[in-house]
Amino acid sequence: MFDPYKIREDFPILKRKINGHPLIYFDNAATSQKPKQVIDAIRDFYENYNANVHRAVHTLSQEASELYEKAHEEIANFINAKGMEEIIFVRGTTEAINLVAYAWGLHNLKRDDEVIVTLMEHHSNIVPWEILSKIRGFKIKYAGIKNDGTLNYESLESLISNKTRMVCVSHVSNVSGAVNDVKRIAKIAHEHDALTLVDGAQSVPHLPTNVKDLDVDFLAFSGHKMLGPTGIGVLYGKSEILEEMAPFQGGGEMIKEVSYNEKTKSCDITWNALPWKFEAGTPNVCGGIGLMEAVRYLRKIGMENVKAHECQLTAYAMQRMQECKKVRVYGPKDAASKCGIIPFNVEELSSHDVALFLDSYGIMIRSGFHCAQPLHQVFKLQSSARVSFYIYNTREEIDSFIEVLKEIEQA
């Protein structure tokens, strides 16, 4: 039985008071809070297992390596990947996308090729492609958005052609919470021999994810948005594509052999097996183990329950926000078609004023562009305030939020 009140007991930070009020944390799209199980796993690693991985024959290194490899396996199971060879640990979603841009794009994209990006992307799924297009000369085409913040599939489909090599799309918008049909997009892309890169930063923490069913080629997501520590994230890639790709960064761990060749006066290098070929240098071992614990926690709750709880909270918040006459909500109006993210503004106030006012009451929300300026241009907004929910949020917290919103309106 899903019980957010019981879940809250696992999150020490939720006992805090901010500005004299109980903390209400509604900035989960930026980062999530951490349960004591994750905090304990991190402490346990440093107290009992800390060593470098894959580098030594001593007991500690063996134990650390086993834990680190186990973390890859559990993440693979969590998203139904074939195995740990398809799971590359990176710093976060941004690094995962950059990895694809440079390790795949730099070697495969050329003049006359096209990459399709949607206007609802986070800057991290726009900027790497824009930088690379200046180097390689390929064209970027932007798929449009409808007024309600949902993806315009007709616009996207009209852009895909035989020149298209990659389609980059977020599974869930970090501004509107709109859920994109990435399975449909992957199917269309594959019909044109193009690949798909999905930004899963806002979907993997909140929805059941099955990469085999979605049939996407790459999926990027961050650990810290799904109860894990910062500095750890994942790039899922189909193993057959990863095998063909050049490495991203060079260094230790990612090579099998480096031998000096007297004839050529250079080093002959063979790459390590997947996923280590893409994990140069000493990895974030503890981060991986913390993320494994986070995934165990989420699996115990059940991702269907996570999705249902957030959907209920979103529907309730959107319904109650209608009581506020000066509040304007953006994005899809149907809570069932989105994740737990609600962008809004209050008449005559900037989003930062709204956020600072709510902060006075211990309510943490985000204000600004949320790293998605093109989408704000579509909405014709200077900026927006954003509430975003997770497993430990409650209807009572939404009631408190609405009370303060009403006070802001009267101010």
Binding site: H352, D353, L356, D359, S360, Q382, S383
Partner: protein
């Protein structure tokens, strides 16, 4: 004489066309900073003693009792520092 650095922990510059500076006062100095500012600036509106809409020599800004302030319509950081200097000196 006190300087801006004595009171200000961080300055955040918002992005986009609607540029604003958000000032976060040092936790242990915020009460002093608020007192000084309220003495010098003209209070145009007070909301539950939580938010103060203020004006100082033609510069409008909002001050929060939590120790934060938001300044708009300033040309740049130099102008912000100059206003803060006068308010906090």
């Amino acid at each position: 004489m006190d300087s801006v650095e004595d009171y200000v922990a961080r300055t955040e510059e918002t992005c986009g066309e609607e540029k604003a500076f958000i000032i976060i006062f040092k936790y242990d100095k915020k009460e002093q900073a608020i007192t000084k500012i309220l003495k010098k600036a003209k209070i145009e509106k007070s909301i539950s003693n939580i938010i103060f809409e203020l004006n100082f020599k033609g510069v409008s800004f909002r001050l929060y009792s939590t120790g934060k302030a938001i300044f708009r319509n300033l040309k740049n950081k130099n102008e912000l520092n100059s206003v803060l200097n006068e308010l906090l000196s």
